[in-house]
Symmetry: D2
Subunit: 266 residues, 4 copies
């Protein structure tokens, strides 16, 4: 069975706190990684296809390691102007190659610092597609198997992540379930689409309370009705807004106050 | 001293035969790798910045390994429309990152096949600049040190390669000297610019005779006057024309007839 | 009503013969425009987003005008590696701007030669989407209204082109119905997807016979069953294969033998 | 003679105030055009090669016209990650086509709003190269002649602009001399390279005082020694920093206090 060994080996009351990082491109800045990293335990670094560029990747990897933050690859569709948030009907074989390429490029910067690749997480529309399309999920999972050096794939922690989990199992790749305390969930476990009101939650205290509920109870109230199950070995907060450090700090403080150790996996 | 250990360890009468490969991009074809590879012992695979794309890279790596051809990375400037033949005044730190990125991406496809990266060779204007600009040469050499996994840097085999050799030595990277039997040389050891008549030689017999002269005598007649010294642990033939397989075969046959074993290094 | 005035003004027994052109990119060649243009009366020139580059566009415009071939713009999705054949979920407002941009760029080369833009035709997945998605069709049609200088939009000539026609009417843009004698049709008027056997027809005589049937009878046998209606003010042949000139010549000869004048519209 | 007719026709005590605009790209923001435009009389809009994208171009054109600001095209080298500030050794014919392409694309958005293209100004390294390389200057000037619809080329107003002026004259394109009050000048009339201390001046009052000196006296103190001549039919202030609106307002107020009318040309 494909359950990640590190999940079983660790105290269940440990939780990782991650954010996307390295999303600047050329002369354009996005996010404030230096302000955010003190609160995180892992980051998902853009690999140049939807954001990031080689110098930004090198800088982000070094900055993360200086803060003791574990570095994962964050591959996306080849679509800079759309920030990887637009769906692109790539052939599954082209997609596998595109993900191997991105993981390999990020991996080189990680190795150059004497570190190891911590995880892989698909970005934006690629993440979304891999939750609903087996061919996409398999392309991503096989790429992680081929280029990840044993690193796990981060998947939606709940019923909506079933296809990603199954693809990872077929590829022999361990998984890490993730929850998004600053995103609303639908009752079926999917994230509420960004186009709907209330899909994103900015208030630090509210995000922190949701984070605690997720890791402690494995459930969260749904945007539409009732509750939905979430499994959270790692919690993701969004870094591309000015309030990101405050949110990350609030989540971290609340998790610790609730008795969790905030640390990464593996 | 930085002399590559494998040079000393091997029979001096062995020579490698290489060509650039994987230069297609998306729907556009360039070269006929499948027809050329039977005559080669190593290839320089484009990494997506001046040519190539992820699926082409994966295909080219597999094709090379099926033919027993060793796979090297061929990073270039980020300039698809110019095929990496235009100079771009990149900051040395940006350039280092761009080369690490490309080597890492290619390396992932090589590792996925259970092979190892054989060498790194700079492409086009990046190769040219690294022969004349220490900052560029250092950026390339340090990137090979950081991402090459011990693979050597291919350098101009002769006086024009002195800066590349020195940079490799500073970076602790072994070098492999290369000669171009299908390119004319100037008396100072530089390649004759492509814009000049006779800079490129297409006749297979003539290229083969020059190849033998290079590996046997370590010298070649110069385009302008006299002769110039060349050191050739590997011979490069150009693959981007219809006659490429005939040239490669002629070079291979002539080298063997002259008593050389055609095989790769390491 | 939005019927193009030029359609009514001309002899119905005139037919235009078009092909895509200017599909090279940087160092990569595609098609043989110089061999094909003698048989054509109009061309659809790639605008740099899915194929083509500025120098190729200038060259193609000049070559067309030298052959007396009318020049149209052929905008596509921003996707060079996918050749514009992959669907991309662009926001309709972004798409409008992308099409205005491409038409404007091509238009500049046409104006620089003292000519006028003849038509606009969407490429690949953009053409396909505009046949089935009103928001896409409207974005394209409004872009033609904004940047086409009065040029008509080429639409699928038959029932499958209904949405494109309606969008053009909303935008106040004239239309030109087109048929594809080298592509199989489904009974509902759509083109048979390229992934199915027999979707593309390469034999010149067979393509020519289909072309005559299309322009003379306004009908063609369907790939699946029965026949489908086609309206053909212009006939498109594909230029991206070696047999393209022979096909174009066969279509032209057959149309003339059937009593049609092969000439462009307007 | 090539002196722009509109220069002679107008009161010499009128001065235009311009800035680069539309420099966002995809999800990345740069500058605050809406805050800056109230103080400007013309803008140079990025055309997608070094910055900008189609939707940003459309938005920027509309925003400018709403503020009564004249719209010019700002073509650059095809180099998004380098923001067009890196030199690229493009063939002159490729460069001509690249500039026609960019002007044409921007022109389409201007025409769609019922306006006319006001001017063309080369960006970054392209601007710099056109001041020192006749082939580059000719490529740019001929592109303006081909695609500018009569719009003038903005050139360095002083001795360093001589080659740009001469190229414009050869191409039959009118020129508009420009000065940079927030940039230091060398005694030979060139801008002080950005890498040197004091090359850029951020204090609004100091920039304003320099602007007045430039337009009133036609001279400015040089960074290295003495003074240099400047001719300023338009003054450029940089928009890519937070203090830009304050600088633009200070320049505008100071010019008006010195008796100049701040208005555009033509």
């Amino acid at each position: 069975m494909n359950r990640a060994p590190h999940e079983a080996d660790e105290d269940v009351r440990t939780v990782d706190l991650n954010a996307d990082a390295g999303e600047s491109f050329g002369p354009w800045r996005m996010g404030d990684d230096a302000a955010l990293f003190p609160y995180l335990t892992s980051v998902n670094v853009a690999c140049g296809f939807h954001a990031g560029d080689p110098a930004t990747m090198r800088h982000t990897v070094r900055l993360a390691l200086e803060h003791g933050v574990a570095v994962g690859a964050h591959p996306g569709y080849p679509d800079l102007p759309g920030f990887g948030r637009r769906e692109l009907t790539m052939d599954a074989r082209d997609l596998h190659a595109a993900v191997v390429y991105q993981i390999g490029a990020l991996h080189a910067f990680v190795r150059a610092e004497g570190a190891r690749l911590h995880h892989v997480k698909a970005h934006g529309a690629l993440h979304h597609r891999s939750a609903v399309d087996d061919a996409v999920a398999d392309a991503v999972a096989r790429a992680v198997a081929d280029a990840g050096g044993g690193a796990p794939l981060v998947v939606l922690g709940g019923p909506a992540g079933a296809r990603m989990r199954a693809a990872a199992e077929r590829a022999g790749v361990p998984v890490v379930p993730e929850a998004f305390p600053d995103r609303a969930y639908l009752a079926d476990g999917r994230l509420t689409p960004r186009s709907l009101d209330g899909a994103w939650i900015g208030d630090p205290d509210r995000v922190a309370a949701r984070a605690v509920r997720m890791v402690r109870d494995g459930r969260i109230e749904a945007w539409d009705e009732g509750e939905t199950a979430v499994e959270a070995r790692t919690l993701c907060v969004h870094g591309d807004h000015d309030g990101a450090p405050a949110v990350a700090r609030a989540v971290r403080d609340a998790a610790e106050a609730a008795g969790f150790r905030v640390a990464t996996y593996r």
